[in-house]
């Protein structure tokens, strides 16, 4: 019991509880028809962005490397997921199973890309690493806007870059259509699937962080040279964290794309990567519950500001700047530290009295 109530365990548990309570409340609101349809349509994007923020937090917060191309992995997952869902539509009739298969395939493909990208990227450090992830994000976007993939009546795939594949026979179907992307997607994503994905990501991340692997990763973050000296294989552990983060993002991408009828590569550009990074930094690096709250609030905020119409993004920008200024203000920080100290002191006093 004592072990279960350790500080980090309590923190992790509270993340699970928060997600579950939020899910139940949303389900009750939907059941009672008390939720406006605008917010209902936001439920799946919120889930997706929460998972994206969690996965990026693994790279930025736990591994301590800045990544500016996280949307690239989302894009890989999205295109793989949709292509799989379209190709297997006749084979698997149960939509939940189709969605699960699409998400798993998206995650696997994103993980493969994670390995390919990770090998060169993780040799670099700091801003140079950041710029290479940015470059990879742009490359992935550029490739997907020029990718054509068709499926002929016999079930064979044809792939072409820049132009449509020439050997495509009549009666075949285009899956990915260059800059138009994929259209005619069956919307099979559900809020429940999003909820399950969040829980699975949380389980994976918390267990990784608590394991030997996680401790090695954090040792690299805190002091790379010291970690190397005690015999930690830097490349291996950096790669583990990076690929894991990519895979989770891929699954989220599949879920995201199967929520819309069309999907194009321009949706996953540099701005999306930055958006997710904003969630992570505002929520606190390495703080998973913070990421969840920040992602949810900042996804809903622009929609909730709709009454300001044209001014909403302006207000969003000002809010963002003000939050950053307020959270880093030394006077405010000192004030909060004092409160924290006072609470801790009180607890100690009580503990003494109990003895």
């Amino acid at each position: 019991m004592k072990k279960l109530l350790r500080k980090d365990n309590i923190k992790n548990l509270s993340s699970y509880i928060l997600v579950i309570v939020a899910f139940v409340v949303c389900q009750i609101l939907i059941g009672a028809k008390a939720m406006p349809s605008m917010y209902q349509s936001l439920l799946i994007p919120v889930c997706v962005y929460i998972v994206m923020a969690l996965s990026l937090n693994l790279t930025v917060g736990i591994l301590g490397e800045l990544s500016l191309g996280h949307a690239g992995f989302m894009s890989v997952g999205a295109f793989t997921g949709v292509a799989i869902a379209l190709a297997l539509k006749e084979v698997i009739t149960a939509t939940w199973l189709l969605l699960a298969v699409a998400m798993v395939c998206g995650a696997i493909m994103a993980a493969i890309f994670g390995v390919i990208i990770g090998i060169p990227v993780l040799r670099l450090k700091g801003d140079y690493l950041a710029i290479v992830t940015l470059a990879f994000g742009e490359i992935i976007k550029s490739l997907f806007t020029n990718l054509y993939m068709g499926i002929d009546p016999e079930g064979g795939f044809h792939i072409g870059l820049i132009t449509k594949p020439e050997d495509l026979v009549e009666g075949s179907k285009m899956l990915i259509n260059g800059s138009i992307g994929i259209s005619g997607v069956q919307k099979i994503s559900t809020f429940t699937a999003g909820f399950i994905l969040i829980i699975i990501s949380l389980i994976i991340i918390f267990n990784t962080v608590k394991s030997r692997t996680g401790r090695a990763i954090m040792a690299i973050r805190d002091n790379r040279i010291a970690a190397e000296c005690v015999g930690i294989n830097i490349t291996k552990y950096k790669m583990t964290a990076f690929v894991l983060s990519a895979a989770i993002a891929g699954a989220a991408g599949a879920l995201y794309s199967l929520n819309y009828s069309t999907i194009s590569a321009t949706k996953f550009d540099f701005n999306t990567s930055i958006l997710i990074l904003v969630f992570v930094v505002l929520g606190g690096q390495g703080n998973m519950i913070g990421s969840i709250i920040a992602a949810a609030v900042l996804t809903i905020l622009p929609e909730a500001l709709r009454q300001f119409a044209d001014y909403r993004m302006l207000v969003y920008a000002i809010v963002l700047i003000l939050i950053m200024l307020a959270t880093n203000n030394p006077t405010l920080k000192m004030f909060f530290d004092k409160i924290k100290k006072a609470i801790r002191f009180k607890k100690k006093e009580e503990a003494k009295e109990d003895m």
Partner: protein, 297 residues
């Protein structure tokens, strides 16, 4: 001839990248922050010049001067309001604030000037009613815009190098970028030096905005973001924090992009350019002219 003309247009594009990259690299060198709002300052500069030229009918040099003044003020104000309170904060916090400023500028521009693209006066730099001259018996045409862009870039480069090497203020800037505390102990006003760096960077951004839009005459609130990203890449490519590095990186990136567009593929130009960049960074991880930092254990 295709080779020469693509080389010349590459150098011209590269000059614009280089001017933007100079702003990035100077601010990075001294404040250790990635100023993501830099690309949007370019956009503001281009808009100011557009209105001065089109709505008020002012001559182009006054337009450029006006946009430089406004951008300089804008840069200093941004620095005072958004970045100065975060001097001691973590670098990621400053990065997010810069992104916030970038969103702010883009959306303010959207509200003020609407999202419909404005066509920048195409024959902006005219001499004697002509927009360019030809060499090799009329086989190769060079527009004055390209010529002005390249000359501007070279002049700025030389002026900046002289400024940082010879003047007292330039020395102060180098000292601050080397070691803030030590510079302060030597009696350098660190805050003022940083503000001046921002002012210079933003003034350069205004010039870059005008040059960029005279070459690619479509002006809208998102005009600055993609050149901003590319110039930032160029700055890292050349070794961030180094002024000659930014110049070289910008020029190489422009030439690379132009050649890829001419010889390989227009659609995949971005992918190929970024791909080459990654390969280069793997061979030389601190950029072309970047300093190798030895780690102390």
């Amino acid at each position: 001839m295709t080779f020469l003309s693509s080389l010349i247009s590459g150098i011209s594009l590269g000059s614009v990248y280089a001017i933007i990259a100079l702003g990035y690299t100077m601010v990075y060198g001294i404040a250790k922050m990635l100023n993501f709002a830099h690309g949007d300052v370019i956009m503001v500069g281009a808009y100011v010049c557009y209105f001065a030229f089109n709505s008020f009918g002012l001559p182009w040099y006054i337009g450029v001067l006006l946009s430089m003044i406004i951008c300089t003020i804008l840069g200093v104000v941004i620095e005072k309001l958004a970045y100065k309170p975060l001097r001691a904060a973590a670098s990621l916090a400053v990065l997010i604030t810069a992104i916030g400023v970038s969103y702010f500028l883009q959306n303010a521009a959207l509200l003020l000037w609407s999202s419909s693209p404005k066509s920048f006066p195409q024959k902006f730099f005219n001499i004697g009613g002509k927009s360019g001259f030809t060499i090799f018996d009329g086989k190769l045409e060079i527009s004055y815009t390209i010529l002005v862009t390249i000359i501007c870039c070279v002049v700025i480069m030389i002026a900046l190098t002289l400024f940082t090497e010879k003047t007292k203020l330039g020395k102060a800037m180098r000292a601050v970028s080397e070691n803030k505390e030590a510079a302060q102990l030597m009696g350098i006003n660190v805050n003022r030096t940083i503000s001046i760096t921002f002012a210079i960077g933003s003034g350069l951004a205004a010039i870059a905005g005008v040059l960029l839009c005279s070459a690619y005459p479509i002006l809208q609130p998102t005009t600055g973001s993609m050149p901003g990203i590319k110039a930032f890449t160029a700055a890292v490519f050349g070794g961030i924090g180094s002024i000659p590095g930014a110049f070289l990186g910008g020029l190489l990136l422009g030439i690379l992009e132009s050649f890829t567009k001419f010889y390989l593929s227009t659609q995949l130009a971005d992918a190929i350019v970024f791909g080459i960049l990654i390969v280069m960074l793997l061979i030389k991880p601190t950029g072309l002219l970047g300093k190798k930092i030895m780690e102390k254990v």
